[in-house]
Amino acid sequence: MDAPRLVLAVLLVALAGLAGGCGSDGDDARNQLDWVDTPNVIVPPALKSDRILRGDVRNDSGDPVRLEASKVRVYDARGRRLKASATFAAGYLHSLYPPTRGPKTLPDTELERLGRIAKIEAGDTGQITVSWRERPGGGAAARIDYGSGSLRIPPEPDRRPDEDY
């Protein structure tokens, strides 16, 4: 590798580290949440490129945290955003109103029931389910960004985070 390419590679790695955190999110000072236990990651039998993560998080920040599912993002180790969805509901459910009808705003109690928001008091725990779709030939998901911090996604046991690169 020539010198300019080497410099570019170093810069790219550094940039990815800044954007994606390279899975070292537990050290991020702004993080408010941490896993209670290692979360489970499931590969749906009919969707081999999709993943479902469920886990409990604890609010160690000393302050209440308000999470919005619509603001949860998933990134791979290179900091690239993956198509993802999140919910704080404990199971499948749907709203009283069809998604494109009904009131424009719902009260927090209903948003909590629907799993669209979660309020976690200091020291309390809450459940999160995040699912994502991996890019063809891309890398494994590495980090969940919930707006005010991020959570590391544990690597799959039989796969290195960068093995598809």
Partner: protein
């Protein structure tokens, strides 16, 4: 042999539940609701009221249109003569006007024609604001402006006690040879085409109804109703919907092309819990001899309690039948004590969630849509026969369930919190004591119009998997008491006497050995957390923002087995 098989099942199930409990204790997944919006509602007294009977005498009002005479000429001779006699006495051009001038026990005879009720589409003085309001109005607001949201309204309670005292036992009947001779069209302009609200004894018969923005036929807080020989189609949401009502019959109906469900007996009578009322009726809502097809769901009912669906066909929907406890605001939660028997539930593989339909529904306003291109209002697992999502004490018995490419049946737990239940002790109060008995799986009857449900005979037409269960056995909590006060120690979810094609074993997930035989195994177990987890991402579906949520495989048409 049967005893040893039972013993083996018991051992295997016990082992599984121990493993499940261990998983729960290990905190692998620590435990952390077709629905519709309406005013706060209350169930009628089940010991009052009864199923209405068809009447051929008594006071009547006759409704006709300008072209009725020419339409009558096309009818067969006997029906033609009957209608010609009625036409000579016709005094009304509007069904609503006839209702408005009717007292109790009146028959509204509707002659052949198309009824659009234009005079009630513009607000009378004082109703302008309510005509613009699409939210849940109070009963009093409906009384004030009956046609604000309803093309035709039968409102029976004048003193606010929720019991009909005026316009009770109203019978609205098409007089043609078939339902198609009388058409009532909402023209996509009203939430409801016909609303029967606290209208005890209402009887609707022999007409077609279409193009509501919400419900073609809507029966609410009504003790005694009957929907007989009705074709209901092209509703944005529901073909026929009853809610917080009792002593109701849907029969000989054809319900099709609705964005949610063809028939929806939601918030069914809740008080009986499987016990008979004063008349000896165990089931308060009966659905029989209906065909419901090409809807998102053939039949659904959040809190669909005390309902018996028999001798129906639910076919060519995305999902054939659902009943559930996963939407808030429905009285009578959790769902319990309904029965499906002698139905044909088949070919529910219509994918209304593919990219092409997503784009069409996103880009085409409701008013401009092809009525046979249904746009789903809620998400369901394409390719499923009958789904019990958080239900207790239901019976699925002697049905033919076939050609549903994902699963013939699905049963899974719904945490109580998801329906807005705040009593944490009730979190596992679904799903329990559901019985799947003597169903014929993966077999298309030789003659679908003449099926002997006591046998399992026909051509092979497999389901993806015949029985799918999340392996959760809920607690038997008494619904009316706080906490979880168990009232049963013998029954659990169970499968007995079900048959596969030509005497072959049926398929299941978990394997057959893990399906308890009836009366089941009444030991709490939290279920298979991996199976439960695969359902959760489907909750994030949104037709515009997230039509294909990662992790959710419901919207991919399963391969034909």
């Amino acid at each position: 042999m049967a005893d040893s098989r039972q013993a083996l099942r018991t051992v295997v199930v016990m082992a599984a539940l121990v493993a499940g409990l261990v998983a729960l204790m290990a905190g692998a997944f620590p435990a952390g609701a077709g629905a519709h919006a309406e005013r706060a509602t209350f169930f009628p007294d089940p010991d009052l009221g009864d199923f209405p009977e068809y009447r051929t005498d008594g006071a009547k009002r006759i409704v006709c249109k300008e072209d009725t005479r020419s339409r009558i000429k096309e009818l067969p001779s006997e029906v033609r003569r009957y209608n010609q006699k009625l036409l000579a006495k016709c005094r009304y051009r509007s069904i609503q006007t006839a209702i408005n001038q009717s007292g109790n026990d009146t028959r509204i005879l509707v002659l052949p024609g198309v009824y659009e009720e234009h005079r009630y589409r513009t607000p009378p003085p004082g109703c302008e604001a309510l005509y613009q309001n699409t939210g849940a109005l109070s009963y009093e607001q409906h009384r004030q402006c009956p046609n604000a949201q309803n093309l035709i309204a039968v409102l029976g309670d004048t003193n606010g006690d929720r019991i009909c005292d005026a316009k009770c036992n109203i019978q609205i009947e098409g007089t043609g040879e078939s339902p198609e001779d009388v058409l009532i069209s909402g023209e996509r302009s009203k939430l409801n085409v016909i609303r029967a609200d606290r209208a005890d004894g209402v009887y609707l018969k022999n007409f077609a109804v279409e193009f509501s923005d919400f419900n073609n036929i809507y029966v609410l807080e009504t003790n005694g109703f009957r929907v007989d020989t009705i074709n209901s189609r092209y509703s944005r949401e529901y073909g026929v919907l009853s809610f917080a009502s009792d002593h109701g019959i849907y029969e000989h109906c054809d319900a099709s092309y609705s964005g949610d469900s063809g028939v929806y007996p939601g918030s069914g009578p809740n008080a009986r819990h499987g016990q008979p009322d004063a008349h000896g009726h165990v089931y308060g809502i009966i659905i029989r001899n209906c065909k419901s097809h090409h809807n998102t769901i053939g039949m659904s009912g959040t809190a669909g309690n005390g309902t018996w669906a028999h001798d129906n066909e639910f076919h060519h929907n995305s999902t054939g039948v659902t009943t559930d406890s996963f939407a808030g605001g429905h009285p009578g939660m959790p769902q319990d004590n309904s029965k499906w028997s002698r139905n044909q539930i088949y070919s529910n593989n219509v994918n209304l969630f593919d990219d092409e339909r997503d784009a069409y529904c996103r880009e085409t306003p409701w008013e401009e849509r092809d009525p046979e291109k249904v746009c789903p209002t809620f998400q369901v697992p394409v390719g499923t026969g009958i789904l019990i999502a958080g239900g207790n004490d239901n019976v699925v018995e002697e049905n033919y369930i076939y050609d549903n490419w994902r699963r013939g049946t699905m049963l899974h737990w719904v945490p109580a919190a998801l329906r807005g239940e705040t009593d944490e002790a009730k979190n596992y109060d679904t799903s329990t004591n559901n019985q799947y008995v003597r169903n014929c799986m993966g077999t298309r009857p030789f003659d679908p119009d003449n099926v002997d449900f006591s046998v399992c005979e026909g051509l092979q037409d497999a389901n993806g998997v015949d029985f799918w269960w999340d392996e959760e056995e809920g607690q038997d909590c008494i619904e009316e008491q706080p906490g979880c006060v168990e009232d049963d120690s013998e029954r659990g979810n169970c499968w007995t006497g079900n048959r596969g094609f030509d005497g072959q074993p049926y398929s299941s997930d978990p394997p057959d050995l893990l399906l308890p035989v009836c009366p089941g195994l009444d030991v709490f177990r939290p279920g298979n957390t991996v199976k439960q987890a695969t359902l959760v991402p489907c909750a994030t579906w949104h037709p515009v923002d997230n039509p294909d949520p990662p992790g959710c495989d419901w919207f991919t048409t399963p391969t034909e087995p």
